[in-house]
């Protein structure tokens, strides 16, 4: 006769494997296909909106690792994004000047411009992750509000430092390009990121297909982290640091790990933003953008990956839907947020995912049955 243990163990062993491997992959493939097809039916404005949704989703899912899973309140996420954005923007822009002698968008589905973008994304993510390591270190001694202030300060430092950079090489002026290609290192040593005006003219290689591919990668990575021993370690720190330590969790290691992972993917989100045809400006590192990402994460539910993606969609599209009521839309938007917090203070899904809300709820009613 199979005991209760066997039944539960087998069910438990099988349960995560199915959605783990198939669901995110399936979602990825479907989304990718949708991106390719939808591009044909949507106007450029709608495409821009979808790009924004995707970038917001990556930013929110990554912030969720540190805010939602590890419970460390970071308010400097936009700082990491901006670092990734500038590194990626500079890589592609100056790489294009060196290689193509122009910063114009190169035609084709995949060319060296895309390679430059990918190199830039990786470089930006790595630099952001390195800064995440630095910002993560004080989180060992700082808790709650104090950590929030430190991370807020980080974002502001990034913003102010970016404002001090020197003018960029004008990609439309052949003389300047020639001067740059003659002595690229000397020019780059001036950190030509265009200061407060914002870095312009980065070729827009990040189409919806690219952005949503990275949304898929980020979600898959975040999900795999969440459903792993590291994810449990993060959650235990969020729940009770003293107990987590007593159970053998190295707080230093896991808090810093959460910051590094979050910063890495924030760097990718920033890098994609820089390639989405907009000017990358120091304001992007400011606290306003950080707050927006926090709102999305809280709206979706601290710790819920699918919740963060859904909330990103709502957050970007809701103001558009409310457009007909003009000036009142921001009021409605704020009211919706407030009522959301009153009705569902844990966000849309809490710590759970869309697909395990129903089975988990069924499991919830059981514990009373234990002897």
């Amino acid at each position: 006769m199979p005991s209760a243990l066997d039944a539960t163990t087998n069910a438990q062993l099988r349960r995560p494997n199915l959605p783990l491997i198939t669901l995110p992959w399936l979602a990825c493939a479907l989304l990718g296909l949708a991106m390719l097809m939808l591009g044909r039916f949507l106007g450029s404005y709608q495409e821009t909106l979808m790009q924004q949704v995707g970038i917001f989703a990556i930013a929110a899912v990554s912030l969720n690792i540190v805010n939602g899973l590890a419970g460390q309140f970071s308010m400097g996420h936009a700082g990491f994004m901006a670092v990734g954005a500038y590194v990626a923007a500079a890589t592609t822009y100056y790489g294009s000047l060196l290689h193509f002698n122009t910063a114009e968008l190169q035609p084709g589905l995949f060319n060296f411009g895309h390679v430059l973008m990918l190199i830039g994304l990786l470089a930006g993510a790595l630099v952001a992750a390195a800064l995440g390591y630095l910002v993560g270190l004080p989180s060992l001694r700082l808790r709650g509000d104090y950590l929030a202030i430190v991370t807020l300060g980080f974002g502001e430092i990034v913003r102010v430092l970016l404002q001090q950079t020197s003018p960029q090489v004008n990609g439309k002026d052949p003389a300047e390009i020639a001067a740059f290609t003659d002595a690229p290192l000397r020019t780059l040593a001036r950190i030509p990121l265009n200061g407060a005006l914002g870095f312009e003219g980065v070729p827009a290689y990040a189409t919806n297909l690219w952005i949503w591919t990275f949304v898929g990668i980020t979600c898959l990575a975040a999900y795999r982290i969440k459903e792993s021993s590291s994810g449990r370690a993060f959650l235990s720190i969020r729940e009770d640091e003293i107990a987590a330590r007593a159970m053998g969790i190295n707080l230093t290691k896991y808090k810093v790990r959460a910051f590094v992972l979050a910063a890495f993917f924030a760097g990718i989100a920033g890098g994609l933003l820089a390639h989405a045809g907009v000017t990358t400006s120091p304001i992007d590192a400011g606290f306003q953008r950080s707050f927006e990402i926090i709102i999305v994460v809280v709206l979706g539910g601290l710790g819920s990956i699918s919740g963060a993606v859904l909330a990103a969609i709502v957050f970007v599209l809701l103001p558009q839907v409310l457009h007909p009521i003009k000036d009142y839309r921001l009021v409605i938007f704020a009211l919706l947020l407030i009522s959301m917090m009153l009705l569902r203070p844990k966000g849309l899904f809490g710590v759970r995912e869309i697909w395990n809300i129903l089975p988990r709820r069924a499991a919830h009613t059981k514990p009373g049955a234990t002897p």
């Binding site: 243990l5 062993l13 795999r224 982290i225 792993s228 959650l235 007593a246 159970m247 053998g248 988990r360």
Partner: protein, 262 residues
């Protein structure tokens, strides 16, 4: 080399002018069941916090199985084989019962981020082993049917047992139980006494027990140390402790002569 598994000598800590624990010596042989008792505020939980590294001892020495534990952070002490429960339950409330136990086996594994992201075979095997072991422990504590419930949704008595279960998942050599019987009814206390002895025998570990319930302590402990105001006032077998005048004094107050005229 000492024959004791846990050998703590002269541990002491003061907070400002308050000497919370002074010259605490605890020597626990393998497979012993040792009681730590004392009136409220005697420093019992502080002693636990010293042993588990929550507070750094200012004086003394401490070894577990000849490994020096002095000054180690809590997670390394847990890895060395000292695990505890908490007086006021400290479960990871939002996590499932199973995840609470799986988490505690963390210090026995490797958790590289690359292996996690790419789900390497070793990572998957480790997760499965952790899960199987956790389910085995839960089954032992009759908690397996609630494995997927949130820890905070468990009834109080189950939460107490889950704490012990979680502490065992770190694979300790010495298990520290901080008032495990608090809030339990008499029949639950009896069940707990049996559970502690079963666990001790089955996992081949030593148990250090803080408890206010004297009948439970006297019933299960082989050796007892009594603290009062941070000092060790007595040490011995349950019968020695029961007849010790200093222990009676600490618990019941000084025997004062009856004032005249009443």
């Amino acid at each position: 080399m000492s024959t004791f598994l846990l050998d703590a000598q002269n541990l002491g800590i003061s907070f400002g002018g308050l000497k919370a624990v002074q010259a605490l010596t605890l020597q626990i042989p393998p497979n012993a069941l040792h009681g730590l008792i004392g009136p409220n505020g005697a420093g019992k939980t502080t002693a636990f916090n010293l042993l588990t590294g929550v507070y750094k001892p200012q004086t003394g020495s401490m070894t577990l199985n000849a490994q020096n534990l002095m000054g180690l952070p809590p997670h390394l002490i847990a890895k060395a084989g000292l695990s505890r429960t908490f007086q006021n339950i400290r479960l990871f409330g939002e996590l499932s019962v199973l995840d609470n136990v799986m988490l505690a086996s963390h210090c026995r594994g490797h958790h590289s981020i690359v292996a996690t992201l790419f789900r390497s075979p070793t990572f998957l095997a480790q997760e499965q082993a952790m899960r199987r072991r956790a389910m085995h422990l839960l089954d032992l504590f009759a908690l397996a049917p609630a494995a997927h419930a949130q820890a905070k949704s468990l009834p109080y008595g189950d939460q107490r047992r889950l704490e012990i279960c979680r502490a065992l998942a770190t694979e300790p050599r010495v298990l520290l139980l901080d008032e495990p019987a608090a809030g339990l009814n008499p029949s639950e206390k009896q069940a707990l006494a049996k559970l502690i002895q079963t666990v001790k025998a089955q996992f081949n570990l030593a148990v250090l027990l803080i408890e206010h319930d004297m009948s439970l302590v006297m019933q299960v402990c082989e050796q007892i140390t009594v603290l009062d105001h941070g000092c060790t006032i007595a040490h011995g077998t349950p019968s020695q402790i029961q007849s010790d005048p200093r222990v009676r004094e600490a618990y019941l107050g000084e025997p004062t002569p009856t004032p005249a005229g009443t």
